[in-house]
Amino acid sequence: MSLVDRLRRGLRRTTDQLFGRLDTLTSERRRSLDSGGGPEATASIDTLEALEEILIEADLGVVATNRLIDAARGHVDGRDLLASVKGELCRLLDFRPMPSGSVPCPKVVLVVGVNGTGKTTTVGRLARLAIQEGQRPVICAADTFRAAAVEQLRVWAQHVDAEFVSARAGADPAAVVFDAITCGKARQCDIVLVDTAGRLHTQVNLMGELDKIRRVAGRAISGAPHETLLVLDATVGQNGLHQARKFLESSGVTGIVLTKLDGTAKGGIVAAITADLGLPIRYIGVGEQLDDLLPFSATDYVDALFRSSW
């Protein structure tokens, strides 16, 4: 199954709900134009209101929605309206890949986020992706707080056959990270994937703990962590923007992983996040299988979203 197919399969429900309606909307619009209502100078207020409703229900938020609607304003034809929404979404979500200078060895990737977004599962899947690319990953269980988080990750590590570094519950997570990087260096691994404990972005002391992990990682290998991924649950609402902002401030997030896109939630808040904070979406999770984590591509994503429409 091709990447786009898998993406589309995972997003089908999202597509049906979100853009199926947009499709109906635009075709209704076209019908009314065809039936000789006479072309108007701008899309009617009704159409724009319906569009606003659809985008807000997709959790894009009021600001991002208004931006898209402003872009859509002035278009008469249904196809143009959709094309401009699509183009604007694409423009919002697209980003240039990060400049790849000299590749650090091992590269350290920190996975952070609030409780219950799917960090541990994401780490297992990132390891799987790395192995598929011919890399040797080390999985680091730095969630020493949540009961049985280490065991959960150990199972994933065994599944994908990756190196695994952990410590007893309650240990200092920064120390585990240091050990994992040391282990990665000694065994000449390519990438160290660090699972951290879930923390609400409002908990100052726990955000401080992340800072310590970063400092210690930087001491173990220069420039670490080379990447910090914020895991967001697609069901999250406007609070996702707060989360991204706080994690960006305190732990230098470099990218987003959007999980649980296989439900009916749309994760539209990422549009607001990329618009406001310029954070790229790196991966999306579209199912419960180990290989249901896909690298994010704005064109594929938006294409897959609109495929059923046109």
Partner: protein, 453 residues
């Protein structure tokens, strides 16, 4: 937790209050603001539209616009309607007729079911009940271990039979065990699942039927967006949810999902989870929440919270101290510890009427880290110093600063605040009646802010 929504609504009402006469136009303007505030709080689009329509219908009636206090009436209408959204509900988990009472906890992945199961068991223990918990999450790696560890840590009995793959079998054996050993509630933790996953929803139906479960609590993340009503609605349609538990309310989520789910799905909110500790689960009271959202404070919750942590003896002892002339640094420390036990200060402030505003004006004064610093300084004093602050000379101050990892300036500031507090307390002790109350309020302002400077 509903801070931002409250602020938005307040600024709307403030501008409405300034109007001496309301016109349909000014009502419309206010309604637009309210709509934005609700949408930004993740209240469902349809709920917002219906809400605004209802408020508009009632607000533009002649009787309201031409009444002597039109703004007050509009505010009352908004409060009524908000209250209406949250539905009837007393919060908590009523005692059922079955022995054992079987409670299923359901929800999407990552909502917080396992943590909530243990918190709920603790709450039930506090009600004098005897809960037994069992995990039926055979899918997520180590989910069963997670429940065992969490429950074990707080002294909740967990049942973990050898059948590691039979979902219904695990739960049934727990019910059997409960029946034979006298546990009166069985809490069944289930695997997280998507509401559109037919196979797994079937599994829940089987579980419900074979256990004769009387209570089905849907666990929802307070940060959920517009999708909240779709998932909760589907769980309710398939299984008949009896209550909702909102988790992660200690973040800055505006909790619009609470309003949407309660009103659209029509299921009352039973509990809210507000922290990582096993005690951080509270029954939900719609009236109190609405007052809180509209910035009217929630004195009842505050009183209950205080009663939980301050024993009556302790309180009367403290009061004698406060009235007398012998308030010492040790007492100040005890007081601070009590305040700390009440929970994070900023959350406490939300509960006091009018304090929400004050706190937003003085954000630094409510820095919880300052409390910890003050405690560290007092902890670095000798017993004698704590009882007789006048002992503390220059070299002692240096020692205390070193010991607590602070500076001499910090120690000086604390001592100054302490002396000021003593002076204030003396005047409170001497005063009486109205005067006392007024001073006490002044003290509260300085008092809650005292260690921070």
């Amino acid at each position: 937790m509903f801070g931002s929504l409250t602020e938005r609504l307040k600024s709307v009402f403030d501008s409405v209050r300034r109007e001496t006469r309301l016109t349909p136009e000014s009502v419309e303007l206010a309604l637009r603001e309210i709509r934005m505030a609700l949408l930004e709080a993740d209240v469902n689009f349809k709920v917002v539209r219906a809400f605004i329509d209802r408020v508009r219908d009632r607000a533009v009636e002649k009787a309201v616009l031409e009444s002597l206090t039109p703004t007050q009436q509009v505010i009352a209408i908004v409060r009524d309607e908000l209250r209406g959204l949250l539905g009837e509900g007393t919060g908590g988990l009523p005692v059922g007729s079955d022995r054992p009472q079987v409670v299923l906890l359901l929800g999407l992945q990552g909502a917080g079911k396992t943590t909530t199961t243990v918190k709920l068991a603790r709450w039930l223990q506090g009600q004098g009940r005897h809960p037994l918990v069992v995990s039926t999450d055979v899918r997520r790696p180590a989910a069963i271990e997670q429940l065992s560890v969490l429950a074990g840590d707080v002294g909740v009995r967990v049942h973990d039979p050898d059948t590691r793959s039979d979902v219904v079998g695990r739960a049934e054996s727990a019910v059997t065990l409960a029946r034979s050993t006298g546990f009166d509630v069985v809490l069944v933790d289930t695997a997280g699942r998507l509401h559109i996953d037919e196979g797994l929803m079937d599994e829940l139906e089987r579980l419900k039927e074979s256990l004769f479960a009387s209570d089905l609590l849907y666990v929802a993340d307070a940060m959920t967006g517009q999708d909240a009503i779709r998932s909760a609605g589907e769980f309710n349609r398939r299984l008949g949810v009896t209550g909702i538990v909102l988790t992660k309310m200690d973040g800055d989520a505006r909790g619009g999902a609470a309003l949407s789910v309660a009103s659209v799905v029509g299921v009352p909110i039973a509990f809210v989870g507000e922290g990582e500790r096993a005690e951080d689960l509270q029954p939900f009271y719609p009236d109190r929440l609405v007052s809180r959202m509209l910035g009217m404070g929630d004195v009842l919750s505050l009183v209950e919270k205080a009663e939980q942590v301050v024993s009556r003896d302790e309180a009367s002892r403290l009061e004698r101290k406060l009235r007398g002339n012998d308030f010492t640094l040790q007492d100040m420390r005890d007081q601070l510890m009590t305040v700390k036990r009440l929970g994070p200060l900023d959350r406490l402030v939300d509960l006091i009427p009018g304090m929400g505003q004050m706190a937003s004006g003085l954000p630094d004064n409510f820095d919880p880290r300052a409390v910890i610093q003050t405690l560290a300084i007092i902890d670095s004093m000798t017993k004698g110093e704590r009882l007789q602050y006048k002992l503390i000379n220059g070299s002692r101050r240096r020692r205390i600063a070193l010991g607590s990892g602070t500076t001499v300036q910090d120690v000086n500031r604390l001592l100054k605040q302490f002396v000021e507090m003593r002076r204030l307390l003396r005047s409170v002790g001497a005063a009486s009646g109205q005067k006392k109350k007024r001073r006490a309020r002044g003290h509260m302002r300085h008092g809650l802010g005292f260690p921070m400077g």
